[in-house]
């Protein structure tokens, strides 16, 4: 093939014979492993691919997967959903967010519930849709409830930059952006008492795809170097994931512990510098950010810098936004699942009280969560 066509970028990376060839190669290599390995796919997109294409069934028994916390919808805690709910109920407010947030329950209900109770909540495809909504509704206050990892953070920054440049006075932000390296570090460093009680089982990481497009593979350098965990940055298609697994296994059998990139067609060491510059201009790290199922993680969340507080809905509406903590459901074991200590079917709520249509725990709220993926595709594994 000399000339690349658009369809090659889809078909070539979902090709069944290639997936099978990799399965065979991995099986042969895995025979040389001295002990079983647990690989954490950090990103929910990878969880979805692994379940959708039945990749677990293609792998030998001594290679296991731990489904990581990389679903930005899943990990938004009830406290933050409650903020969105309360903001949507304020006078003259239009609350705007990305479609994935629609069903996620807080303690007062979901944003869908808020809408059915009269709030003006709009789900958009792109943050830039806020500009149009603001122009069409000059007397309303548009609050963008911003979620997402590094993949989505620069888009919120680009929206704020446009708001400032165009002198728009009726767009505000409630920022819930989170960062990948901090949660990876937390999962292997076992910092707090709760985590200390667990024996961490992660041997290697599959690095997220599109977080790495923005931030570059450089953000994972510390994991092989300081924590002895290899990282292979992988694309989202099933062939990408199989190749990345094969690369991880080869590191173990060859006694290497390195940062490698499988997803070379878009991931570089440095990443997208323009996007990083935008993030650095407008955001700074919070001291703590609470993750649904995992608790407070230092420096893992972002907020607007103080000089942009005129656009910060958390500052403007601070009198109506509660700061107290809400406990996760007592029977929910999402925290254990995210640390690799349990699988979704081991939860007593799984498939009974907790379903994609009425989620209780973080891993069920979006299709990228481990429980939702097991609920949808899990029959294949039995």
């Amino acid at each position: 093939m000399e000339q690349l066509e658009l369809k090659n970028l889809y078909d070539g990376f979902r090709d069944a014979p290639t997936i099978k060839a990799y399965a065979k190669l991995i099986e042969e290599d895995a025979k040389k492993l001295q002990s079983p390995i647990n690989i954490m796919e950090v990103c929910g997109g990878h969880t979805h691919t692994i379940m959708k294409y039945g990749l677990l069934q293609l792998l030998p028994k001594n290679i296991k997967f731990i489904h990581g916390p990389g679903c930005p919808v899943c990990i938004i805690p009830k406290e933050r959903i409650d903020h969105a709910y309360i903001l949507s109920m304020q006078e003259d407010v239009i609350l705007v967010t990305l479609g994935d947030m629609i069903k996620v329950p807080g303690s007062k209900g979901s944003l869908q519930d808020a809408r059915s109770r009269g709030a003006d909540v709009r789900f958009v495809y792109s943050p830039f849709d806020c500009l149009k909504i603001a122009r069409q509704n000059p007397t309303k206050k548009i609050i963008f409830f911003a979620i997402g990892f590094e993949t989505t953070t620069p888009m919120s920054a680009a929206l704020l930059e446009s708001v400032i440049k165009e002198g728009i006075c009726n767009i505000f932000f409630h920022i819930n952006h989170v960062r990948v390296p901090e949660v990876m570090r937390e999962l292997i460093k076992s910092r707090d008492i709760h985590v200390d009680s667990y024996n961490n089982k992660i041997d290697a990481f599959l690095g997220p795809s599109h977080v790495s497009v923005i931030s570059g593979s450089k953000i994972y350098e510390e994991f092989p170097r300081d924590y002895n965990r290899p990282v292979v940055v992988s694309g989202f298609e099933p062939v990408d994931v199989m190749q990345a697994i094969s690369m991880s296994v080869k590191q173990f059998i060859e006694g290497r512990c390195e940062l490698e990139t499988q997803y070379k067609r878009v991931v570089t060491y440095d990443g997208n510098l323009k996007a990083q510059e935008l993030m650095d201009t407008y955001f700074e790290q919070r001291e703590l950010f609470k993750w649904r199922g995992l608790g407070n993680i230092p420096k893992s969340g972002l907020k607007l810098k103080p000089e942009f507080e005129a656009y910060d809905a958390e500052v403007i509406y601070k009198d109506v936004l509660p700061l107290g903590e809400i406990e996760d459901h007592k029977l929910c074991i999402c925290g254990d699942i995210l640390r690799g200590m349990a699988n979704p079917p081991e939860c007593t709520l799984f498939g009974t009280a907790c379903k994609p249509s009425s989620p209780i725990g973080s891993c069920m709220v979006s299709s990228e969560g481990a429980c939702a993926a097991y609920y949808k595709y899990g029959n294949l594994i039995k």
């Binding site: 990376f13 792109s126 849709d129 680009a158 599109h210």
Partner: protein, 91 residues
């Protein structure tokens, strides 16, 4: 959430920093706010995420990956053939 769609650039409006991209037959506009001074041309392949072009796809790297996959399939097929022959010999 973090999924992103490979698309092809069909039009570039530099003044407004917008590109028109084709995603398997569907055309839509995407912001170039994250692309900066990177040299983007009509016909280039890009990754699209929530209305933004997030990165140009490196064609050479994509072709090299597809080449590696063909080799892997060939190698595994060769192994299969060899095993089949060995199997027959041992009968």
């Amino acid at each position: 959430m973090c999924l992103s769609i490979p698309s092809k650039v069909v039009k570039i409006d530099k003044e407004n920093s917008i590109a028109t991209v084709d995603t398997m037959g569907v055309q839509r506009e995407a912001s170039l706010a994250l692309i900066g001074d990177e040299d983007l041309q009509i016909g280039d392949f890009v990754l699209l995420h929530i209305g933004f072009v997030m990165k140009k796809i490196d064609e050479q790297e994509a072709l090299e990956s597809l080449e590696i996959y063909r080799d892997i399939i060939d190698r595994m097929n060769e192994d299969d053939k060899r095993m089949a022959i060995l199997g027959e010999d041992s009968l």
